[in-house]
């Protein structure tokens, strides 16, 4: 967003959003910890745990880091990073299953 | 057994699968040579014809659009794809995947360490004795447990891999300390020996002779010295050698028969 030209009103709207997101993050933290006490089988636990973490991370990135409304150049750069990050995360797959 | 002839190009090939690899290597080099000579001739021609000289100006008005290079590029892509799909990948699959039946093959364990190879034959029971790290000492480099019934007749051959000719061999390769690479140049065999992993490989020799095992991966100060011996023998020679080894291990109790494989 073009933060340069934000009016005080707009900023106040943002601040409200920050509080809502803050609340959501706290709730999700409680949920993650709660899930861990269910002692689910490992696959479900990992899936659920990472899903909640991704949701939290997404909230932080979208609202606190303003990614929900950012300039194209930042997006294009981040998409590249995401793709390469995905390749990087293939390393475990290659290391563990590429040798069969 | 005669000494192989080595030179400045590929060493002699004595394996069943090596000819395919050699073919691919020479095809590739012909392909590379054609491309390079083509480019080179064009380059030299341009450098001479389009040199700066009085009365000659760069032709920038009619920016030509070349069509030929496009076809050359497409040609290169097609050839590379063919080399990959019809040569490299199938050869690799045959070498790395199509293992002979264990019952038909001679199976040996090769364990690399700084800076030697230990070759471990399973003996007549075709079963390897257990290896225990705590048993490792100067005389027992891989920690073979002789009390294990499977390990009683196992033969340990330091640094010398003897195999019979025309016999499929499966090597179970591992390493004790660092990464080594088990290389038999004449067999077109190369495989990293990675500690913590046991990697199988196979080959079949077509000629007898005395060759070498080389380490192809830097493994420390003695990397150069990590030379092993690789002898391809006739099956009679192999049996003789094997029986002698067995005799010195177990005494005369063992009966001398043919250990080299069940298809003999």
């Amino acid at each position: 967003m073009s933060h340069g030209e934000m009016t005080v009103e707009e900023v106040k709207k943002h601040v409200k959003k920050y509080y809502v997101v803050f609340g959501a993050l706290l709730c999700l933290t409680v949920i993650t910890v709660g899930i861990s006490y269910l002692h689910l089988p490992i696959f479900q636990a990992v899936l659920l745990g990472m899903a909640v973490a991704s949701l939290k991370g997404g909230l932080v990135a979208a609202y606190f880091m303003h990614l929900i409304d950012e300039k194209k150049i930042i997006y294009s750069m981040l998409w590249l990073t995401v793709v390469l990050f995905a390749f990087c995360m293939l390393i475990p797959l290659f290391t563990l299953h590429g040798y069969k | 057994m005669e000494q192989p002839q080595y030179g400045f190009w590929l060493p002699p090939n004595i394996s069943t699968h090596g000819a395919e690899i050699d073919n691919l290597i020479s095809t590739l080099h012909w392909f590379m040579a054609v491309l390079f000579i083509g480019w080179g001739l064009y380059l030299v021609y341009c450098l001479i014809r389009f040199r700066e000289r009085p009365g000659h100006e760069a032709d920038v008005t009619s920016a030509p659009h070349f069509v030929v290079p496009k076809y050359i590029e497409i040609g290169i892509i097609v050839i590379e794809a063919c080399l990959l799909i019809f040569f490299s990948a199938p050869i690799w699959a045959r070498v790395k995947q199509d293992f002979p039946k264990e019952s038909e093959a001679l199976i040996v364990k090769v364990t690399a360490e700084q800076f030697a190879w230990t070759i471990h034959y399973p003996g007549r029971d075709r079963k390897f004795g257990q290896l225990k790290n705590e048993l490792i000492d100067g005389t027992n480099p891989t920690g073979l447990d002789r009390n294990d019934p499977n390990g009683v007749d196992d033969i340990i051959s330091p640094n010398i891999l003897n195999i019979p000719v025309n016999q499929k061999v499966i090597v179970q390769l591992s390493a004790k300390d660092v990464i080594h690479s088990f290389s038999l140049p004449v067999m077109r065999v190369k495989q990293d020996a990675v500690p913590g992993m046991t990697i199988p490989l196979w080959f079949e020799a077509t000629q007898t002779g005395k060759f070498e095992i080389a380490c192809a991966q830097l493994c420390g100060v003695g990397h150069t010295q990590m030379r092993g011996f690789f002898n391809v023998m006739t099956s009679q020679e192999y049996d003789t050698w094997y029986n002698e080894e067995e005799k010195s291990l177990l005494g005369d109790a063992a009966t001398a028969t043919e250990p080299s494989g069940e298809n003999k």
Binding site: - | I25, W39, V60, S181, S183, V194, P195, G196
Partner: protein, 590 residues
């Protein structure tokens, strides 16, 4: 033009001010991108010579195994024979120094820093202080690497790839400090510094190129060198961090007793390795090559950019297929991230994985061929002016072709079985990096010297340098292919241990003699570079070669703020016309 004169006095006042900067602010802790570029250049050339020197010593041992090195051998060992310990150290440090302390800082640090702001019409990098910091962080990294030779057991000796477990078990040390003060640990620490420096530098490069473009300079008007530098910066930015992570993990393995890369059940020289185990040595290779393959393109892309500039200027023609060239560079950069495991074909990987990486490797050869083709086609219909820079650039083309083509047998797994880890590999990548990148960098030095100093380098010395170099360098690297074919493993202290090594040994003598000739051939270059600074022929014009890109609009040498009058870009980078010879980007009239 009254506006102009006003501007001039304004500038004058400021340049007066900058004269008053103390020496250490002006030349040592400078924030001027040109001074930093020169600092990078000089430091990198020092390291290149140092790394080359290590190899010259190793080449004696390779040519004449176990014979004492004449004259200076006694400096290293008592009997003057290079010991295998020293050989391994020199080998590892030769690779490390050449790649991370020599070529990359010269190509990216020096040429990138000096030329990129000029070519986009900026007055400096976007973050001048960060720029200074990246140089000094690089410098510290370099010092740590050099100091590692002084440790009790000498420098790192596990190859520039530092594969664990070897790199972890070599001179492990018993406590923290003993483990830290070893070659390998200092290598890792030095790498962390070098990587940090590269990261800072690449952020700076990208931001400068994108944000500080002068008016009219759209992306598709960027000179090819700017494109190459930006692509390189992205490679450094996104590929280096995994190695930084891996370096930290290996450092933990060495000094913290962890087992990230150490599998269970290791037995080192007859004794069980004292660590928990459970790690994976292959993981290091993945993380290392995730960087180190893009690193190859970090080495070659700036060279491609430099060659593009020099070819365009000296053929007096637009580059053929500028857009295709740019897209090829970008595609090459992207693809370089997904070919890494072709360095690991022999680690026992399965068919699916190896086929995937063979396929990507074949795909990546396509843009390389396109880049080479566009340069070759640019020559058609040209009027080629053979400056020394252009000689190096023309030599670059076939040398790069050899380097690229010999990648094919290594990229296909089946032929790689025989060639993997042999001299063939060394020949392949040295053709890319030595007569490839280094020739391009030398060409760049000759080409931009008048811009940097206001004086030309001596032409005769330059031609001597060129011809001796081009002949001797082929004498070094061409025999490597034959040695590799014969099956001789790389990194051997003495190949005559093996029968096939004995047979191929005469080639080693040829290679060593060529290496020493190459070393001598650099003397006229160094002399030329040093003396022309003061006594070279003066460049009367700011644009002696008739270039079209923005750096030629600045005076030679450029003042601190680069452009005394505002510049603007009016057209694509390489518009030459037969009537006016050239139409620089910064000139409005056609």
């Amino acid at each position: 033009m009254s506006h102009d004169s006003h501007n001039h006095t304004h500038e004058h006042a400021h340049s007066h001010e900058s004269h008053e900067l103390p020496f250490w602010r002006k030349y040592i802790f400078s924030t001027d991108h040109k001074v930093i570029g020169l600092q990078y250049g000089i430091t990198a050339i020092f390291f290149l010579l140092f790394g080359f020197g290590l190899m010259l010593l190793m080449r004696w041992q390779l040519a004449f195994p176990k014979q004492a090195i004449p004259l200076i051998g006694k400096l290293f060992t008592e009997d003057g024979v290079l010991s295998p310990e020293l050989y391994n150290q020199f080998g590892a440090m030769h690779g490390t120094i050449m790649v991370f302390l020599g070529v990359v800082p010269l190509a990216v640090g020096a040429f990138g820093n000096y030329l990129l702001p000029l070519q986009v019409g900026a007055q400096d990098m976007a973050f001048p202080k960060l720029n200074m910091m990246s140089y000094w962080v690089y410098f510290i990294g370099g010092v740590i690497m050099l100091l590692s030779f002084m440790t009790p057991n000498g420098a790192a000796a596990s190859g520039w790839t530092s594969y664990p477990p070897l790199s972890v078990i070599t001179n492990p040390g018993t406590d923290f400090w003993e483990a830290m003060l070893t070659g390998q640990s200092m290598w890792l620490l030095g790498m962390v510094f070098l990587i940090t420096s590269s990261l800072l530098g690449s952020v700076n490069t990208i931001v400068t190129a994108i944000q500080l473009r002068v008016k009219g300079l759209s992306f598709m008007r960027w000179p090819v060198l700017v494109w190459a530098q930006v692509t390189t910066a992205f490679l450094l930015l996104l590929a280096f961090p995994p190695l930084e992570a891996a370096g930290i993990l290996q450092l933990m393995d060495r000094v913290g007793g962890t087992s990230f890369f150490m599998p269970s059940g290791l037995v080192v020289s007859g004794e069980a390795w004292k660590a928990s185990g459970g790690g994976n040595p292959i993981l290091w290779q993945h993380l290392f090559w995730f960087l180190a393959h893009p690193e190859v393109y970090v080495l070659i892309l700036p060279a491609v950019g430099i060659i593009g500039e020099i070819i365009a200027v000296n053929t007096r023609k637009p580059l053929y297929g500028y857009k295709t060239l740019i897209y090829s560079i970008l595609f090459l950069g992207f693809m370089s991230f997904i070919v890494w495991a072709h360095h690991m074909f022999m680690t026992g990987m399965g068919v699916t994985m190896s086929t995937f990486f063979q396929a990507t490797t074949m795909i990546i050869s396509v843009p390389s061929v396109i880049i080479l083709t566009t340069y070759l086609l640019t020559l058609w219909g040209a009027s080629i002016r053979y400056t020394v820079a252009m000689l190096f650039a023309t030599a670059f083309l076939p040398m790069f072709a050899i380097g690229g083509l010999t990648g094919l047998p290594l990229g296909l797994t089946a032929s790689d079985i025989h060639l993997h880890d042999t001299y063939y590999v060394i020949g392949h990548f040295h053709y890319v990096v030595a007569p490839g990148t280094l020739f391009a960098l030398m060409a760049g030095v000759y080409h931009w010297y008048p811009k940097i100093t206001g004086r030309f380098m001596n032409d005769t010395l330059g031609k001597i340098h060129f011809w001796l170099s081009v002949i001797s360098i082929n004498g070094i690297f061409m025999p490597m292919f034959f040695l590799g074919m014969a099956g001789v493993s790389r990194r051997l202290y003495d190949q005559t241990v093996y029968a096939h090594g004995v047979a191929a040994q005469p080639l080693n003598v040829v290679m060593s003699v060529s290496a020493w000739i190459l070393a001598l051939a650099q003397l006229p270059f160094l002399y030329n570079m040093a003396t022309s600074w003061k006594w070279g022929k003066k460049a009367e014009s700011n644009n002696p070669w008739g270039g079209t890109t923005l750096e030629w609009a600045a005076s030679s040498p450029p003042p601190h703020e680069n452009f005394t009058t505002p510049v603007e870009v009016f057209r694509a980078p390489y518009e030459y016309s037969s009537t006016k010879k050239h139409l620089p980007q910064f000139v409005q009239e056609a």
